[in-house]
Symmetry: C2
Subunit: 327 residues, 2 copies
DNA sequence: TTGTACGCGTTATCAT
DNA sequence: ATGATAACGCGTACAA
């Protein structure tokens, strides 16, 4: 029922080892063209493909790349990363496996079971865990979307996101900003870092510190937040939203109050979700260029495999402002 | 560096076999409580976890569940399925592996490499491939989101989606409908089936056949489509959109033309994307209840593993109308 | 080109 | 009653 290398060897009239050499095009072995053909034909005829398990057992490492996620909501950006990374890794014969960490220690366990060839951490692991994984011989990548930007090569600096938002609004003449913060505790670290970037940029550019208001994902909440900014003592004219979802809530709330962006309040989001272009007005936002990030992660893994040059590290250059009409 | 069962055995002063019995709580072997404790303590102290590869090799099947996708864009619904399924499977010790099929044959190859415990097909495989996989001893599930609903237990009937849209619009008094079709060839099969459901429902309810207009995902395209319906000879009052993304394009187009739903045209989407509630007006749509679908798939896999009762099959009951204001 | 040892967890068989 | 021994599965790499 299940075809093994032994079956192919028998069918081709060669040894198992020869089958392995042919299948893997082992450069250290010269197999004559006729034998090569016989093996390949037999393999095709029988429908043979090497068992990933046997390979992994022998090699000591699997074809898996482990993507470790914290328990955050699975928004457009994360989904897009997974999509891109799955494709990019598949193209080089690797398999993406995602694990969402809910309890500490889960990640280490997954690593020990899977023996992945690399671990990509999206802000789910502690430094101690990183060390532990590296010590176990797995070349772990640095933390994508890492809280701190000091760990390595593949970080998306969250503070820069906030800075870019403020810079754009300041360039448009806004002087007093609001900040729309999500309520979800699971993203509080991302929020903290983005807000930090906003605060720094305000300081640098001589703006007042932002008036932070929590916003849930509903038109009601959006309207309430807008009223809060209106009723406050500060003359707020523009709002940085934590992400596009929050920005949508603000736009919906403004619509309900008979207000509109950018005249009553300018609104800028983060993520460049596809629907942002279809909002009324179309949403100005910060794009994270997930395709490029995924490609760089894949290149990094290639490098770890010894099949590529030292890859470029990821940083601010994947972040770009997308100007539409809302700000 | 890497901890094996042998290390644990040595540390606990027992044999490798005993370690295996304890770790897997093998019911055919009775291990005394003291030894059990020693083994467990040693395993914890050393940070032992069984190698997935060795396990898979020995058992002949891995912990992987293979989700096979066609080369379709990775929208909210697919992303959500992947998210839910990843979590649900992880909860029962299984690993979701996703493969996107671009060339015929890729799926079979992946199956032979991975030896997954189950294969979930999202409309990417032929019947011949299903048979081939089943013949190789893997209990393949039926096709989720299958073009045809005759293959098995876990189908999302696309035609019913169209029917539900029409039934709602008809109940609101609409008699002549437009249908907004996406341009992407990769979803043409889904489009065909949904449209088929729309046509049948129109027939059943005595409505005119829908006026189908292609719509790309931009406000321009949405406006053009709306004008096409306005300029046509039919007195169209409501529009079924292929999905919520298309519906957003229509709403954006209408907004640009100074029109609004539901008064000028009622609009109903499909998918219940989170941002639908924040559209202006909030989007009426068909929810696919992806959580339940994922749970049923997981239950089905459990059943395949012999750890659960015959699971319920998926069908129309996961589809529900979500009435908001756009229709 | 081939023979063969190896990696590691599982389980049937055997020993105490 | 408890636990140990050993065979097994399959692809890889080194020595022959």
């Amino acid at each position: 029922m299940v075809v093994t290398a032994k079956d192919v060897a028998r069918a081709a009239g060669v040894s198992q080892a020869t089958v392995s050499y042919v299948i893997n095009a082992n450069p250290n072995q010269r197999i004559s063209e006729p034998t090569r053909r016989r093996v390949l034909d037999a393999a095709a005829a029988l429908g043979y493909a090497p068992s990933a398990a046997a390979r992994a057992l022998r090699l000591g490492t699997s074809d898996a790349v482990l993507l470790v996620l914290p328990n955050i909501p699975f928004g457009h950006t994360v989904a897009h990363i997974i999509e891109q990374l799955t494709d990019d890794l598949e193209a080089i014969g690797l398999t993406l496996v995602t694990r969402r960490i809910r309890e500490p220690g889960q990640a280490l366990n997954a690593v020990r079971q899977l023996r992945p060839i690399a671990v990509i951490d999206v802000a789910a692991l502690t430094e101690a865990e990183h060390d532990e994984i590296r010590r176990s011989g797995i070349p772990i990548s640095s933390s994508v979307l890492a809280p701190t930007s000091d760990v390595g090569a593949l970080t998306v600096p969250q503070d820069t996101i906030g800075q870019l938002q403020v810079e754009h609004l300041a360039a448009r003449g806004h002087r007093v900003l609001g900040y729309a913060a999500p309520q979800d505790d699971r993203v509080s670290e991302f929020l903290r870092l983005r807000l930090e970037g906003v605060r720094e940029a305000c300081l640098d550019l001589g703006l007042a510190q932002p008036v932070v208001v929590p916003v849930e994902l509903s038109a009601d909440a959006g309207a309430a937040a807008v009223r809060a900014w209106q009723d406050g003592s500060e003359p707020i004219t523009a709002i940085c939203a934590y992400n596009d979802d929050v920005a949508f809530a603000l736009l919906a709330g403004m619509h309900r109050l008979g207000l509109s962006a950018p005249d009553d309040f300018a609104v800028i989001g983060v993520d460049n979700v596809p629907l942002g272009a279809l909002a009324s007005p179309p949403l100005t936002t910060i794009d994270q260029n997930v395709e490029l990030l995924a490609a760089r992660i894949a290149a990094y893994v290639q490098f770890l495999l010894g099949n590529g040059p030292e890859p470029v590290s990821n940083g601010e250059d994947t972040l770009t402002l997308v100007v539409r009409e809302s700000a």
